[in-house]
Subunit: 228 residues, 2 copies
DNA sequence: GCAAATTAATGATTTATTCAAG
DNA sequence: CTTGAATAAATCATTAATTTGC
């Protein structure tokens, strides 16, 4: 259990999962559990400095690779097509019920749900509309960041209002409360976070490497634990 | 196709995949493609500020959650055990061959491989030792960031050496070259990156939303394309 | 010569910033 | 303008090198 679950890399597989849901042909490379598909198509990340046409975005990378070779020969074929089941609107549009539940969870203390939690939330919210785990994940990321942003701004405004009279920006009192906040941030989730995992990833399951008794973290702590 | 694949959320699923590889019981919630397992047990995030004993690292977070409740009742059971197949050491320890291949790919221009690419790389590198897609993903992230870091540092040193004589730090000439670099960063991959995806995630697959012809990106461009 | 402690390198997460869709 | 989505930066944590004491 416990699988550290880095939030990063996960997006790949969510994509993958959605794709493989329809395609019934296993990619025959289950070693690293990679469905094989997805895409590149990343954001061009406009420089924001002074580009007249932010829509261009491609700028041929100019293939400047042409030396050194390995014994990889057949790795260039797996055009995963992503048949015809995962598509629809462009991006997730949360329904009011979904937002309500998400905000409730957030106010309940949830900050960065793990896989299990996201899974459950997704399942729950799926009743109110199409949703993917990724959406839940991103929602918490964004909500957390923006709430913090709002609070910071409010604090600054309050301070500047109380302290002096109306100076727009006080360069002093940096505060940087988020730095210290990080430590707690990892634990302010609803999970118990016993101590820490010794072998969060691999683990042949020989013995409980941590103190981990998988805790059965209460995803929706809004109910005491009774049936409802 | 091409599934945007945000690198973030992906980590969850990689973990999941590794776990489900051994456990043969489907989690019965394939809606959002979430294997259901993983863990919390995150890093304690040591404050780094001024703790005399960096080895302690725990510091009980004091459970301060306890109110708010929703109508979720049965979501609290899925103790995924992670049987006994994916374990080993705590973190990935790349073999020299693996590093060699990864560096070759990096020098070949690969920066942020997508799922397909990571899948292939993982498959390839799996010949030299245990590896997961996540590891490949993180390797590129870290390598990219640290190479950039190194270059920045070198540039600063060079400038300070050339410009003045030995002043330790010049507060001027911020440079911030990485800002502009970001635009290219998204495209300097080996993938073609047509334009950008319209419906990267959901997509019922009704029609080709993008210009996507899945390109068959050459993962290991070291060989022209022949069999070898 | 070996083992424990310390340092350096780097794998893994979280947070901050940014782009773009509605 | 709001906010979902994605990446880059910063940070934490673990492992290998290296050093130090015996």
């Amino acid at each position: 259990m416990r699988l550290q679950l880095h939030h990063l890399y996960a997006a790949y597989l969510d994509k993958a999962a959605a794709a493989t849901t329809s395609s019934s042909s296993p990619p025959l490379i289950p070693s690293s559990a990679f469905p094989a598909f997805a895409f590149k198509c990343l954001r061009p990340l406009a420089p924001k400095i002074s580009f007249p046409e932010p829509r261009k975005m491609i700028a041929p990378p100019a293939d400047h690779f042409g030396r050194a070779r390995i014994n990889t020969s057949k790795l260039l074929n797996s055009t995963v097509q992503l048949p015809t089941s995962t598509a629809g609107t462009t991006r997730w549009n949360p329904s009011p019920e979904q937002i309500k539940v998400l905000e409730m969870l957030y106010r309940g203390g949830m900050r960065t749900p793990n896989s299990v939690q996201i899974d459950r939330i997704t399942e729950e919210l799926g009743k109110y509309g199409r949703i993917e785990g990724k959406n839940v994940f991103y929602w918490f990321q964004n909500h957390k960041a923006r709430e913090r942003q709002k609070q910071k701004l409010a604090a600054l405004l309050t301070l500047s209002t109380l302290d002096s009279s109306s100076l727009p920006a006080a360069p002093e009192t940096k505060e940087v409360p988020e730095k210290r906040n990080k430590k707690e941030a990892a634990c302010d989730d609803l999970t118990i976070s016993k101590r820490r995992c010794k072998a969060p990833w691999g683990g042949h399951g020989d013995a409980a490497d941590c103190t981990t008794d998988d805790v059965t973290l209460e995803l929706f702590p809004l109910r005491p634990q009774g049936k409802a």
